[in-house]
Each structure stands twice: as structure tokens, then as C-alpha cells.
């Protein structure tokens, strides 16, 4: 088949993500596979291309949060179709592992989960520890997974102080230099992140992703 046909399939995949077409994404993906579209290309240029468009619209305040989440779910469903067909050893362009969680005593997870979803679609492997995560668990997972990024979220001023303790524990273990630590959630600010020695703070998931990418590219 020619590149032209492949282009049609890629744009259909992209449009399905942009249009949040949860019902039809699988059949669109299967059709692409049947037409011998490279599965890795289908994910990176088709599905992820769609997510980038929705992400940009979200950053500009044009797309809605549920739209972004829905688009990410469509992408996941599409990826599941292509995944088994990617040849072993193919360069997936992975960006590394991200360990995420909401700090001890805090059970708010909407923002944190959204960060996970976005990072996942951008090429990171996300290990989401959930909510009310013990300080030690953050440290252990970071070490075990050799995470490039540790993201901690808090919605309450009373719980956000845990972040300071985690940073200290990372230093004690001697792995603070190996991981970029990002903090987020309503009470956190850039000033506070700097004060406690975190590498970055983001106001929303899209900002978090762009900060993460720029920090890693400077490494």
C-alpha cells in the first residue's frame, strides 16, 4: 500500500482521539492494522497526534477536562489494539518511568490521575501509587523503578508538608540527584517548591507535562 493510504488511516486515528470517539476507535484501529499501517507509527503519529491537539486546546482554555480525559481513554483503547503487533526491539521512544501519588493523609486524586493519564499518552511509563501514599513508599518505588520523575500531589496545606519529608528521605538514600521531583495540587506554589528543594511545581497537568519534558531534555 502507498503512503497516501497510511496517511488516511493516521488521520482517522487522530480524528477519533480528537473527537473522543470511544465507540469506534477499535474498528478504526483494526482497519489500520489490516491495511498494514505500522503499529508504532499508528500510536505515535496517529493516536498521540490527536492527544497533542486536544492537549494544546486544553492549555489554551478551549477544551474541557472531561474531553482531555476521554481523548486519553480513546487513545488507551487504540493503543491496546496496536500494542501486540509492535515488533520486539522497536524503538518506542520511551521517556522513562514516572512514579506518582497523593501524599500521606490526603485522598484527593483527580489532578494526580490526570497527570498520570497525560504522562502515559506522552510516552512515559506511569506507576501510580494512588492516594494516601506513605513517605517511605514514594522513596522505595522511586529507587526500585529507577524513576526519572517523582510526582507528588496534595490538596491540603496540612498534608503538603509530607513532601519535605520525602525529599529528605530521598537525600538520605542518596538518590535525590537521580530523580526530578515535581509537586502539584492547589496549595502548592512555585515559591514553595523552590523553598523545599523540589525541581518543579505545576498548576495543571498540561503544564506538568511540558515542565517534565523540558527538565529531562536539559539533563
Amino acid at each position: 500500500m502507498g503512503d497516501g493510504d497510511s496517511g488516511v488511516h493516521l488521520s482517522r486515528l487522530r480524528d477519533a482521539v480528537i473527537g473522543c470517539d470511544l465507540d469506534n476507535i477499535e474498528s478504526i484501529a483494526v482497519a489500520a492494522l489490516n491495511s498494514k499501517v505500522d503499529p508504532l507509527k499508528a500510536i505515535q503519529e496517529g493516536l498521540a497526534g490527536g492527544i497533542r491537539v486536544v492537549g494544546e486546546r486544553y492549555s489554551k482554555g478551549e477544551a474541557y477536562l472531561p474531553e482531555l480525559v476521554m481523548a486519553a481513554n480513546v487513545m488507551k483503547k487504540g493503543v491496546a489494539v496496536f500494542e501486540p503487533h509492535i515488533s520486539e526491539g522497536a524503538d518506542r521512544g520511551g521517556l522513562g518511568k514516572v512514579v506518582l501519588g497523593t501524599v500521606e493523609g490526603d485522598i484527593h486524586d483527580i489532578g494526580k490521575s490526570l497527570v498520570g493519564t497525560l504522562f502515559g499518552t506522552a510516552g512515559f511509563e506511569v506507576i501510580d501509587l494512588g492516594v494516601d501514599v506513605a513517605n517511605q513508599k514514594f522513596v522505595d518505588s522511586t529507587q526500585k523503578e529507577q524513576a526519572v520523575i517523582l510526582g507528588m500531589s496534595a490538596l491540603m496545606t496540612t498534608t503538603m508538608v509530607s513532601m519535605t519529608d520525602v525529599l529528605a528521605a530521598l537525600a538520605d538514600k542518596g538518590i535525590r540527584g537521580k530523580v526530578k521531583v515535581m509537586v502539584g495540587g492547589a496549595p502548592t506554589t512555585k515559591e514553595w517548591a523552590k523553598e523545599i528543594g523540589a525541581d518543579a511545581q505545576a498548576g495543571d497537568a498540561v503544564e506538568a507535562l511540558s515542565l517534565a519534558k523540558s527538565m529531562l531534555s536539559k539533563r
Binding site: C20, Y64, P66, E67, L114
Partner: protein, 510 residues
């Protein structure tokens, strides 16, 4: 709520994100008088019309009343209008009609179920969009208002807002109408006309666009304001012009503006009675002359400023009560309404006008007003602000959203989904959330972002954002133009009329 085609088009183009706006269906309802109080106002109005009578400076109006059995004193220009004529008038007007746009998608349905907003008229100064200077208004300002109206989904009707000061005064309403017909596909409300011949030119201009007078009657793309300024008094020229419009099938807004403390008593009940009497009286005359003439009940009332004797502005709690009472009376009679809604004596955009421009339209909309006016004006409708126009549009969409209420059914209760997601769950990723997310009001100016993000993006005030948005719209939006031949003919009609003033109205001649 249901989207109109033009809105959906905007929506598809991604220019607006919320579906709420152009023609919202009202769900929540409120009353400001009991049924007994309403009855009392009605009887008081009949009493005023018969016992006190109305001073009417239009010879034609007095002759119509006389021929139909009113007690008319021509030397005093006073008519005592009996109850049966008032009731005859109430029987004849259409209970539902459309204020048509140049295109059908922009028709304003006056059916008691929908609610809309219009711009305002007619000021004499403008805060310049570029320099921020407060200066005399010009035709370019009127054009900008028309283009913004054409674009903004929450503004359904164009009213010229300001008058072009650079044209001969006798031709100003014609210039305003020319702008309206050329630069928006929405309905144009023309400013109060006080001369019959002027009304005739306006009818000719509108007929040119609709393709004839018969078509204009079928699809009135313009409507006119008949303004009662003094208590129980009808201006001669204004009534003659209104009779001309009514006979042509052009809807007339019967606007009464009692100012409590000066042109009406200080107590609200009396204001409403006088306001109601004026509207019933004017309606009786129009319906006797032109049975079935489309009319609107328009109460634009306010107490005077008791400390200075000046105009009290249109944003006070009493304004909300009086204009709402007017709407309630209009509902009683089944007459569509265009109540005063946004009004303020504020000299600049900011907190004062923000609360005033919310209080009154919200109340009036809840009571059931059909077409709410006043978008974009400062200083008691004297000064146009494009920033304020954008801010008012934001308020309007919020009011429209509120009165639309919400529905309770299986889909909106979504019990099976709640059961599936379960306690401590999250609904953000549910298709149900995605499906219904656009039913939630989506502000275009109000800033909901966290402090850091807001600060990083320039820490702009709402006014600054509003000004930027207005400029953006004016730079990118081009209304669908009229046929160039028609546009040229309109130009010719306006410049012909410009050459010499119209003969004076009958009020001066007899």
C-alpha cells in the same frame, strides 16, 4: 435549551464553547405580585385611563379614540379611554410572534417560553476601543456594535447603542438602521422615531431588504420603540410614527419609563399602575387603527436619585421590582415583553455596574421577560463601552443559563452509572460527563485559573480581557453582507433623507 443553527455553526467552528445562549428556554419562574395585587394594578390602570385620562398629542390617535367611543376633548388633547376599548385592544394583539432576523436562524421567538438579550439605545458618547478616551459617538461605533452583536451568541437583537453625531440630527435613526441592516443578520430595533415621514422611510428601507412590504409584515426584521416620557401622556409624533409602523406590521415596543418621584409617584404600586395604563392606552389606539398589530410590553423604570433629582439609573432593587412587575402584567395580558434590564449610572466598568447589570436582568428573566435590553451601556444608557458590552454578554449568558434550570430524568439522574462508579469513585472519565459537560456554563471572560497561572499569563483584569476579545472579534468577524445593489439603494435613501429635515410631527401643527 436548544441551540439555534447559527449558534451551532459557531460552535462547530470552535468559536464558542457553550451551547447556552441564543435562544434559551426559560424554566424557573418567579412572581413579584400576588394575583390579587395584579388585579388591583389592572383595575387601577383602567381607573386612570377612564377617570384621569391620557394627554395625547397625536390628532390621528384622538380621532381614532373618538370614533370608537372614547371621551375626547380636542382642545385639551385629553382622552378618557373606557374599559371596553382597553379590553378590545387586549383582544387584538398577537400573543406570540417573531422579531425576525435577516436570516431565519436569528429569529427571536416571542412565545413566552424563550428569553433573549439585546443591546441598548441610544447614547451619545463612546469609550474609544483604541484610545480608551470618552468621546462623542460616531457611525463607526454603531457599526462595531452591529458586528459584535452579529457575532456574540448571547445577544439576539441589535439596538444601535449610540447615535452618529456626525450626521444631520434629523437623519440619525436612518443611519443607525442602515448600519443594522448592513452589518448584522440579527433583528434591528430602531430608536424611537418622533416623525411619521421618518417612520415611512424606515419601513421602505426594511422592505427593500425583505423584498417588499408584504414580506416585511410576514417577517418583520425591524421593530420600533414608542417611548412614553411624561406620565399618562403620549407624544404626537411618536404616536403618529407608531401608527405608521403598526399599520405596516412592524412590531412596536410600547415603552413606559416612569421615574418614581418625578414622572410618577414615589411608591412602586402607583408607578406600575401608571406604566400599565400608558401601555394599555397606547395599545388600544394601535389595535383600533391596525387590528392585530404586533406590540411589546416594555417597562423601563427607575426611581429618581432622591438626593440630586437626577436619573436614578437602572440598576437598583426597585428597578428590578418595577420592571419585573411590568413583565408580570404583560404575562397577564399575554403580551410579549421587552423590559428594561441592564442599566446603570456607573461611570466606568467595574463593581457597581457588575452587580447592577446582574441584579435587574436576572430578576426580570426569572419573572418571564422575553427580550431583555441594555447590553453595553454606562451612565444611564448614555455612554457605550465595548468592554462593558463583552462583560454584559458574559452576564447575559450566565442569566440565560440560570433561567434554563435543569432537567430531572433517568439520563440526568444516571443512577446506574453512579452505582457502577461507586462510593469514593470519580466521574471525570465517564462518557456521561463528556456527553453533558457543555451544559455547564462556560465563562469566556471570568478567570477561574489558579493565581500562579493567571499571574504568569499577564495578570489581566476582566476589563483588559474584555477589550482584547472585542478587538479580536472585530478583527476577524465579517457579517454576511447585504446584496450590494440593496446596500447601494439603502445608501441612496439615507442620503436623500439627509438633505432636508422631515416636516414636523402633528404635535406642533395643531
Amino acid at each position: 435549551m436548544r441551540p439555534c443553527p447559527s449558534r451551532s455553526q459557531c460552535y462547530q467552528r470552535g468559536e464558542i464553547t457553550t451551547r447556552i445562549g441564543f435562544d434559551t428556554e426559560r424554566k424557573i419562574k418567579l412572581k413579584v405580585m400576588t394575583k390579587e395585587e395584579e388585579d388591583a394594578i389592572h383595575w387601577a390602570s383602567l381607573n386612570l385611563l377612564w377617570k384621569t385620562g391620557m394627554r395625547i398629542y397625536s390628532k390621528e390617535s384622538l380621532e381614532i379614540l373618538k370614533a370608537n367611543g372614547a371621551d375626547v376633548d380636542f382642545s385639551q388633547k385629553l382622552a378618557r379611554i373606557p374599559e371596553h376599548l382597553v379590553h378590545e385592544g387586549l383582544k387584538r394583539f398577537p400573543k406570540a410572534f417573531d422579531l425576525c432576523g435577516r436570516i431565519k436562524a436569528n429569529d427571536v421567538k416571542l412565545d413566552g417560553r424563550h428569553v433573549y438579550f439585546s443591546t441598548d439605545a441610544t447614547g451619545v458618547a463612546t469609550y474609544d476601543l483604541e484610545t480608551g478616551e470618552r468621546r462623542g459617538s460616531n457611525k463607526e461605533d454603531v457599526k462595531k456594535v452591529a458586528i459584535l452583536t452579529d457575532y456574540l451568541p448571547g445577544v439576539a437583537v441589535f439596538n444601535p447603542s449610540v447615535t452618529p453625531l456626525e450626521v444631520p440630527p434629523h437623519s440619525h435613526t436612518l443611519h443607525e438602521l442602515e448600519v443594522g441592516l448592513n452589518y448584522t443578520e440579527k433583528h434591528t430595533m430602531v430608536e424611537a422615531v418622533f416623525i411619521k415621514d421618518e417612520a415611512e422611510v424606515e419601513i421602505k428601507m426594511a422592505s427593500l431588504v425583505t423584498g417588499g412590504t408584504k414580506e416585511l409584515r410576514r417577517r418583520p426584521i425591524i421593530s420600533s420603540i414608542m417611548c412614553c416620557i411624561f406620565p399618562l401622556t403620549l407624544d404626537g409624533g411618536a404616536m403618529d410614527a407608531s401608527l405608521t409602523f403598526a399599520k405596516a406590521g412592524v412590531p412596536v415596543h410600547l415603552m413606559s419609563m416612569p421615574q418614581a418621584g418625578t414622572t410618577a409617584p414615589i411608591t412602586l404600586a402607583a408607578d406600575i399602575a401608571i406604566n400599565n395604563a400608558e401601555i394599555l392606552g397606547a395599545n388600544a389606539i394601535l389595535q383600533l387603527a391596525a387590528p392585530g398589530a404586533p406590540v411589546l410590553y416594555s417597562t423601563v423604570s427607575s426611581p429618581m436619585d432622591l438626593k440630586t433629582g437626577g436619573y436614578g439609573g437602572g440598576g437598583r432593587p426597585e428597578t428590578a421590582l418595577m420592571n419585573s412587575a411590568g413583565v408580570q402584567m404583560s404575562k397577564r395580558y399575554g403580551m410579549p415583553s421587552s423590559p428594561g434590564s441592564m442599566g446603570s449610572m456607573a461611570k466606568m466598568t467595574g463593581p457597581q455596574i457588575g452587580h447592577e447589570h446582574t441584579l435587574v436582568p436576572l430578576t426580570v428573566a426569572l419573572v418571564g421577560g422575553d427580550l431583555l435590553n441594555g447590553i453595553g451601556m454606562l451612565e444611564g444608557s448614555k455612554v457605550l463601552s465595548f468592554e462593558q458590552m463583552m462583560i454584559d454578554h458574559e452576564i447575559a449568558t450566565a442569566v440565560l443559563r440560570l433561567v434554563a434550570g435543569f432537567s430531572v430524568n433517568d439520563e440526568t439522574l444516571s443512577l446506574s452509572m453512579i452505582d457502577r462508579v461507586g462510593p469514593r469513585g470519580n466521574f471525570l472519565q465517564e462518557p456521561h460527563t463528556y456527553k453533558h459537560m457543555k451544559e455547564i456554563w462556560d465563562p469566556t471572560l471570568s478567570d477561574l485559573r489558579p493565581y500562579d497561572v493567571w499571574k504568569a499569563s499577564g495578570a489581566e483584569t476582566m476589563q483588559q480581557v474584555a477589550r482584547k476579545k472585542a478587538k479580536e472579534i472585530l478583527a476577524k468577524h465579517t457579517p454576511v453582507p447585504l446584496d450590494s445593489g440593496i446596500s447601494k439603494q439603502l445608501r441612496g435613501m439615507v442620503s436623500d433623507a439627509e438633505k432636508k429635515p422631515f416636516p414636523k410631527g402633528t404635535s406642533e401643527n395643531w
